[in-house]
């Protein structure tokens, strides 16, 4: 049986932890609101980009000089996995579910005899993946210094990927991130970014694609837009990730606060029982001592 003092200390420490988790939850809630509105504000750009690119792509696709970023290299031997995770932990299964998805994909590809290269963004993905795929990690970008993700961050990543692609270092690139559905549900998602894919509906619905005038011509516009689109897709994923991270942290910390509350309750009960038992014991000792006289 733990002594009263030990119990008191334990309760105090759980209370301190609860205060921290409570504060983290509230901070996450505030950050979530900001991350969510950032993700929403970025949506129109990505949507427009997709429609216009879809239009041009259908006009150019199949042509002899369609850019490789659109059509791919025609092979799929080397896969690049772009794993986007957070810089901080304590956010539930957020990081580990993205890593798990990427890891499973990597093993599946390796079983098919493909070469896998990994590009990590965020330490919390880099650390566990480094243990498994030390040699396959080709790049690691840390976003810790930045307050929020900016388009420039996404652009820097996209430029690295474009450079690797034009150097022929991979054939297919897929990004892994967590799509924000709601505070309690974030879906780890894999999205192919090179060669570029467009929702079929966007391309099919706009039958007017062919009637557009292009200045300069389609191929040149496409050559300009495709790298931009890459950056936009990565930016979108980073923002979704940001919102997911905060949402995930919020619910994880909410849980932790509740658990701490329960623990405090239980331990207070034990503490009171022990205290009562001590008093009773002392009383019995006094009484029996008096009777013995």
């Amino acid at each position: 049986m733990a002594s009263l003092k030990e119990l008191r200390n334990r309760i105090a420490s759980v209370k301190a932890t609860q205060k921290i988790t409570k504060a983290m939850q509230m901070v996450a809630a505030a950050k979530l609101r900001r991350a969510q509105s950032a993700a929403e504000a970025a949506r129109p750009y990505a949507e427009r980009m997709e429609t216009v690119l879809g239009n041009i792509a259908t006009a150019v696709a199949g042509g002899p000089d369609a850019p490789l970023l659109l059509t791919g290299t025609g092979k799929d031997n080397v896969h690049l996995l772009l794993v986007l995770t957070a810089e901080r932990g304590l956010c539930g299964a957020f990081n580990s579910s993205i890593v798990r998805l990427a890891r499973e994909r990597a093993y599946a590809l390796m079983n098919q005899g493909k070469t896998v290269k990994i590009f990590c963004v965020g330490r919390k993905g880099y650390d566990p993946l480094r243990r498994l795929f030390e040699k396959q990690i080709v790049e690691f970008v840390e976003l810790r210094a930045n307050k929020g993700v900016t388009f420039a961050d996404a652009q820097a990543i996209a430029e690295k990927i474009s450079a690797m692609f034009s150097a022929g270092e991979f054939d297919v690139a897929t990004q892994f991130y967590s799509r924000f559905q709601s505070v309690i549900s974030q879906v780890p998602t894999a999205q192919q970014i090179v060669p570029a894919t467009f929702p079929q509906a966007a391309a099919a619905a706009d039958g007017a694609a062919a009637t557009y005038d292009y200045e300069p011509d389609e191929t040149e516009i496409l050559a300009d837009l495709l790298p931009r689109n890459l950056a936009v897709q990565i930016f979108k994923a980073l923002l979704e990730n940001g919102a997911s991270e905060q949402g995930s942290r919020m619910s994880a910390m909410d849980n932790a606060t509740r658990n701490a509350g329960e623990m405090i309750k239980k331990q207070t009960l034990t503490y009171n029982r022990t205290r009562q038992a001590m008093i009773t014991k002392e009383l019995i000792e006094i009484i029996s001592g008096a009777e013995a006289l």
Partner: protein, 137 residues
């Protein structure tokens, strides 16, 4: 004059959305004006000044990187950077020009060098246009 819906979107947010009568766009192959009912048209942008004319006062913004899509239903511009001239810090453009000049120096590949040089020229032209605009006010 007939007005038409116009949207200016940057990756971070929707910068401008509303009815306008005329927009002058710095296109990659020269400036062009868009009026209501323009034929379907897509052009990339060069760094420069975008002018929006509508009911209110004429607005001018510095835009860089992106493209414009016009059709009879309206005009959409996607720009990586879109800042009202008034809010553009004076040294920001100078910094961008300096960086672009360094990029030109660094480029070994003649094709890339030429591209970067063209970009630098566009930037300088934009800076000159902005300065001229400032004097006019």
């Amino acid at each position: 004059m007939a007005s038409f819906p116009f949207e200016l979107v940057s990756p971070e947010r929707l910068v401008y959305s509303g009815a306008v009568t005329e927009v002058v766009v710095p296109g990659a192959e020269g400036e062009f004006g868009i009026l209501a009912g323009h034929a379907p048209f897509v052009s990339t942008l060069k760094p420069g000044v975008l002018t929006i004319k509508g009911d209110g006062p004429t607005r001018k913004l510095f835009v860089r990187g992106g493209f414009a899509e016009a059709n009879p239903q309206g005009l959409t511009i996607l720009a990586e950077t879109a800042v009202p001239l008034a809010e553009l810090p004076a040294d920001k453009l100078a910094l961008m020009i300096r960086e672009a000049a360094e990029d030109v120096e660094d480029a070994r590949d003649p094709v890339i060098r030429q591209k970067r040089a063209a970009y630098l020229d566009d930037l300088k032209a934009a800076a000159a246009a902005i300065e001229a605009d400032g004097r006019a006010h």
